[in-house]
């Protein structure tokens, strides 16, 4: 019944007792003979260690890219957004507000920050700068949200369309698929607060630029339309560029810079 490794002992020692003298023996050998023969390093041994190291480096990179760098970029964009917000608050808009009409800020230059996006659904501390154009390196990869410069500005008649990363580089639109109907999307510019209400998601091919039209997918009614919309685009599925996820929202209201919307008042104040 006993395995081949079992050796009967007159002292009936347990396995741990047997291991002890072995360990002591090894220690004595190490202390006693300084010229203990070192195991020869084999090419395969070194190769194995190099490969294991490379594997660990790749895993570290993924952890850095997917988690650590996102957090770092987000804290940077949050600081930028806070500064922008405070800047807007300090310099009240010069343009007089036409009754009941949102004041629209002029289009921004490429990569120039012109506003701040607040979406409470994405977290209580969520705020991210809006910049002109959808430049990959100058805007999107910095974790900012880029404005399609062919579309309208916030509050204007038509479509205010923006793009942002869903994974990596701060991933400002990481939770775009978690938006609920009725969620508020706040945009702040030097001219005030624009409140949009999330309406629906759509999944389209990367070539479907019709979502950027004044009335998305309906160019023939654009002339008579009085809609003010927001369109947010990102990649779909996550980590892939096979499709685009599109989030549409409709304009709800406009307030001057001094009147911070109550829902995000704490977020705006927080540094």
């Amino acid at each position: 019944m006993h395995g081949p490794a079992f050796r009967p002992s007159p002292y009936n020692r347990s396995m741990t007792d047997q291991a002890l003298p072995l360990r002591r023996d090894r220690a004595r050998r190490r202390a006693g003979s300084p010229k203990r023969p070192r195991r020869r390093t084999s090419v395969f041994g070194v190769l194995g260690e190099v490969l294991i190291t490379a594997g660990v480096l790749v895993l570290l990179f993924i952890a850095w890219q997917q988690w650590f760098n996102d957090l770092q970029v987000q804290s940077g964009t949050r600081d930028d957004a806070t500064k922008l917000s405070q800047q807007f608050a300090k310099t009240p808009a010069k343009a007089p507000a036409p009754a009941g009409q949102p004041v629209v800020t002029p289009a921004a230059a490429d990569t120039q920050q012109f506003g701040v996006l607040y979406i409470p659904r994405f977290g209580a501390d969520y705020k991210v700068p809006l910049a002109g154009g959808t430049d990959t390196v100058g805007t999107l990869n910095k974790g900012e949200v880029g404005h399609y410069d062919s579309t309208q500005m916030p509050g204007a008649l038509g479509n205010f369309a923006v793009a942002g990363h869903r994974t990596t580089h701060g991933a400002p639109f990481a939770n775009i698929a978690q938006l609920h109907v009725g969620d508020h999307i706040y945009v702040q510019t030097a001219q005030g607060w624009y409140t949009y209400t999330f309406r629906n998601l759509e999944y389209v091919k990367p070539t479907q630029v019709q979502v950027l039209q004044q009335v998305p997918d309906a160019p023939d009614v654009a002339a008579s339309s009085t809609d003010r919309l927001i369109t947010m685009t990102s990649c779909n599925p996550k980590y892939s560029a096979a499709e685009r996820i599109i989030a549409f929202g409709v304009f709800d209201s406009w307030q001057p810079v001094s009147q911070v919307p109550t829902e995000i008042a704490a977020t705006v104040k927080a540094g």
Partner: protein, 53 residues
């Protein structure tokens, strides 16, 4: 490779462990500060805009 490193290090085993930990921290710092951002700049993130390829 690593056994050679262990033998090169001076002092008792605990000192070697401390030195190795410090070395590992230094390597990690260099990776996060310079190497990873450099590598990342060569990786094309998934496109998020419509109409551009």
């Amino acid at each position: 490779m690593y056994s050679a490193l262990w033998h090169v290090l001076p002092g008792p085993w605990w000192l070697r462990v401390v030195i190795l930990l410090v070395l590992a921290a230094a390597v990690l710092f260099c990776l996060v500060t310079w190497v990873f951002p450099l590598v990342d700049s060569f990786i094309q993130p998934p496109n998020v805009t419509v109409g551009s390829h």
